[in-house]
Amino acid sequence: MKSRRMTRRGLLTTAAGAALLLGFGKVSAQESRPVWMPFDGFPPADSMAEGLQFLTPDEARTVGAIVERLIPADALSPSGKDAGCVDFIDRQLSGPYGVFSGQYREGPFQDGTPMQGDQSPLDARQRYRLGLAALDGWCRANAQAAFADLPEDRRDAILADLETGKITLDGIPAELFFEQVLANTMEGFFADPIHGGNKDMVSWRMLGFPGARYDYLDSLDIAGTPLRLDPIGLKGGPSWSADWVPPSAPARKG
């Protein structure tokens, strides 16, 4: 019987939310019926805790200088920075995702074929910590300033070179770092505001996405015109307040 690694601690690290499930399973594994507590839901952890949770102030500044170029402010929306992507990334890194909880993290780590996916031993926290330091190091050596202090067009050029791997960073492949930040920035910009980004649902307004609604039965017959609804998120939205005025009548046809 191989019980070598079958420790309680080992089980606790197998899945996000394992502590809750484990407590439940200990009971139900002995009982003849599954049991649960009334209202024992697990809503998303409050992502709006004050202050930085993982990033240092310098790192947060650099992340902000990146995300405001990945998603620049214009007539369509505020920048990724003003939309809260730095807060989003910081909260994600401070939680289970930051250590890639749930992913298969056993070695040996080795490079595979391009078809075999991400095989880096670095978790999300390490990718940011190493990548941000290396980016600033590269900028100080090659542009005589920290990344966040460079003008917009220079930052854009550097980001493009990270994307294509034209720049070599110390300790982390440039493309790996870039893809990590790009993916998380887009998540933060488009996710529900409860996770810290997409403040005031700016990306949803930009697209015309109505958000966390749950019933379109009265709109199924729309024949190719946009259904305009003010978006709502998991924590509600402006339309839930008493002084809200609808922006415009929904364009309906059909």
């Binding site: 191989k2 019980s3 690694r5 079958m6 080992g10 089980l11 899945a15 499930l21 484990l22 439940f24 399973g25 200990k26 139900s28 594994a29 003849s32 599954p34 649960w36 209202f39 839901g41 697990f42 809503p43 998303p44 170029r69 990945l70 998603i71 620049p72 214009d74 369509l76 890639f100 749930g102 298969y104 056993e106 595979g112 074929t113 078809m115 075999q116 996916g117 991400d118 095989q119 854009d156 790009l182 488009f190 996710a191 529900d192 990306s203 697209l207 996405f209 109505p210 958000g211 966390a212 609604r213 749950y214 019933d215 379109y216 039965l217 729309i222 024949a223 190719g224 946009p226 998991l234």
Partner: protein
């Protein structure tokens, strides 16, 4: 290791397959235990309407899937490569917990056509033995559509399937799928509403001479009380469907369609967070004595039983057989062995259309409400001279518009910056994809085995997948995509981007969770692991139920057939095996 009191029957896995087998056996009065690896799930708590519409949590962070840290796999394209772990789920999304992958599925509910079950015989009869490409290990299932039809019918009534029969007792009916096999009964519910995109698709397809019909859907079009007396609500087209649990008691699942009934049966016990690590056998190796599992506290327990039904997800079913030494492991060098043989996938094809002056409101959608056609599937068109067999079910099904994932821009668009934002905003409302969920034939080189290097958290080898697209399927993909492109053009798109499979199978982007085969059913023990009742040839008191039984994959979503097979296997245990325990088919 603690030995628990004996049970008559142990069922491993409580998704669709396990719950249907349990339902079939409940009225025997036997003492039945269901073991589920993952947690208990409850709609009101886990899919609460105030928390479920969270794309980050359910789609990106995959809250309903088993974690690779618990049950990962390794992947490679050919035997010459070193398999490496799929460190996060990519190409497919295995489920976890009560309800299994049938919680986050889309709800598209096909029946396979009669020819599928005689795939090799059919092709030989029509095209000749010499027309079968040497690279394909295509074979028959060992059972017929007519044998399975009552169980398809039972599943329609269990899941509240919505649609319109195209073949009712042999009569071809307007508005349904004219290519389907004969049905005893129409669908229990009428088809779902077709929104603007599917309407455009149906019109364009009909003009091109195809036979469009509403996609069959296990999301009820009306309030429904199922065959076990359980209630389902009508689908609200909320657009948080595939990869999400349903807050509305709409999307059919074991959790709402079967398990509440199982809980009322005094002879059925469910234990969750109970992961079976192997099947135990007696000294002869031909009789299962029970299962060893880890409970929620990590204690290893031996659960004796007279009969074991393994009903997990396809990957885990095959792995459990390999870990338990059931059947001879397949060896691609010699072509011998059956456990791991005939692994196949689903060939994903799509054409994305970019339209002008139209808003599709993509957020109004569901996993299965849309239009489909079957003209490009199976042998519904003549394959003589085409250089390939197979095809796919073609459809337009707007699954929702949650914007982390559901944003299409023309290729060549920058991935960030002002231009990216402009294009993203421009096209969000104005793209619609025609998909073709297509067949995947088995080959001698595509197979499942145990990985020699990578272990799970308790030291067991991971499952190793060796897979690449067969040449047959690459040609098929080119063909169906060219036909789908014609449809997109006829729908009025200004620009379109065909996406046939190309290059080697890439394990990273999501493609389909329709992994099949590896412990297949059949009539010949040298090429199948179970007989047509899903009973192990080698261990007759062991039944293995799931998509691992498919000898190859046709161009359909598999769940309807998995559930029909579960009903069929459960009935075989109840009506045949229990009356005369032993092999149900001659070797």
């Amino acid at each position: 290791m603690r030995r628990l009191p004996k049970k008559d029957i142990v069922i491993v896995g409580l998704g669709w397959a396990g719950s249907i087998v349990a339902r079939q056996l409940a009225e025997t009065g036997l003492d039945i235990l269901c073991l589920e690896r993952g947690p208990w799930r409850d709609t009101a708590r886990d899919f609460n309407i105030s928390t479920v519409t969270d794309e980050l949590r359910f789609d990106k962070r995959q809250a309903l899937m088993v974690q690779p840290a618990q049950a990962g796999i390794t992947v490679r394209n050919t035997v010459s490569e070193t398999a490496l772990p799929m460190r996060q789920w990519g190409s497919f999304h295995p489920g976890n917990g009560v309800g299994g992958a049938g919680l986050h599925w889309a709800g598209i509910t096909w029946r396979f056509t009669p020819e599928i079950f005689r795939q090799r015989s059919h092709l030989v009869e029509r095209y000749g033995e010499s027309a079968i490409p040497a690279e394909l290990t295509v074979q028959d299932w060992g059972l017929t559509y007519d044998e399975l039809e009552p169980h398809y019918d039972a599943f329609d009534k269990l899941a509240g399937v919505s649609g319109r029969a195209g073949n009712l007792k042999g009569e071809i009916r307007e508005g349904g799928n004219p290519f389907e096999g004969p049905r005893q009964n129409d669908y229990p519910l009428p088809p779902m509403v077709q929104t603007h995109g599917p309407k455009l698709f149906a019109k364009a397809a009909a003009e091109l001479g195809y036979h469009p019909f509403p996609s069959p859907s296990a999301l009820p079009s009306e309030p429904y009380t199922n065959s076990l007396g359980l209630k389902m609500g009508p689908c609200t087209y909320c657009g948080f469907c595939t990869n999400y649990g349903c807050a509305n008691y709409s999307k059919a699942s074991a959790l709402i369609c079967v398990v509440p009934w199982l809980l009322l049966q005094p002879n059925i016990e469910i234990r969750v967070n109970s992961e079976v690590v192997r099947i135990e056998k007696d000294g002869t190796g031909r009789r299962a004595t029970g299962v060893v599992y880890l409970d929620g506290a990590g204690e290893e327990l031996f659960q004796p039983a007279d009969l074991v039904a393994v009903c997990g997800f396809q990957l885990e079913n095959v792995r459990l057989m390999l870990l338990s030494g059931v059947g001879q492991p397949y060896d691609p060098a010699t072509g011998t062995g059956v456990t791991g043989r005939n692994y196949a996938y689903q060939t994903p094809n799509s054409v994305t259309g970019f339209f002008e002056n139209v808003a599709f409101n993509p957020f109004i959608g569901s996993g299965a409400a849309g239009g489909a056609l079957d003209d490009l599937n199976n042998d519904n068109f003549d394959h003589a001279g085409l250089g390939f067999f197979g095809g796919g079910s073609t459809r337009v099904i707007p699954i929702g518009g949650a914007p982390i994932s559901q944003r299409h821009v023309p290729s060549g668009t920058p991935r960030w910056g002002a231009k990216w934002k402009e294009e993203t905003t421009r096209w969000y409302q104005a793209t619609m994809s025609v998909g073709c969920e297509a067949s995947s034939f088995s080959t001698p080189g595509n197979y499942l085995s145990l990985d020699p290097t990578y272990k799970d958290r308790i030291g067991r080898p991971l499952l190793r997948m060796t897979f690449d697209w067969p040449e047959n399927d690459r040609r098929m993909s080119q063909h169906v995509v060219s036909k789908c492109t014609d449809i997109v053009r006829a729908m009025g798109a200004k620009h379109w981007e065909p996406a046939p499979i190309k290059g080697a199978w890439n394990t990273s982007p999501y493609q389909s969770s329709h992994v099949v085969g590896g412990f297949v059913m059949g009539a010949d023990p040298s090429t199948s692991a179970t007989n047509k009742y899903l009973q192990s040839w080698d261990v007759p008191n062991l039944f293995v139920v799931g998509a691992q039984a498919f000898p190859q994959n046709p161009g359909y979503n598999p769940t309807g057939t998995v559930c029909a097979l579960a009903g069929w296997a459960g009935a075989a245990i109840r009506d045949l095996y229990l009356k005369s325990p032993g092999p149900l088919a001659p070797t």
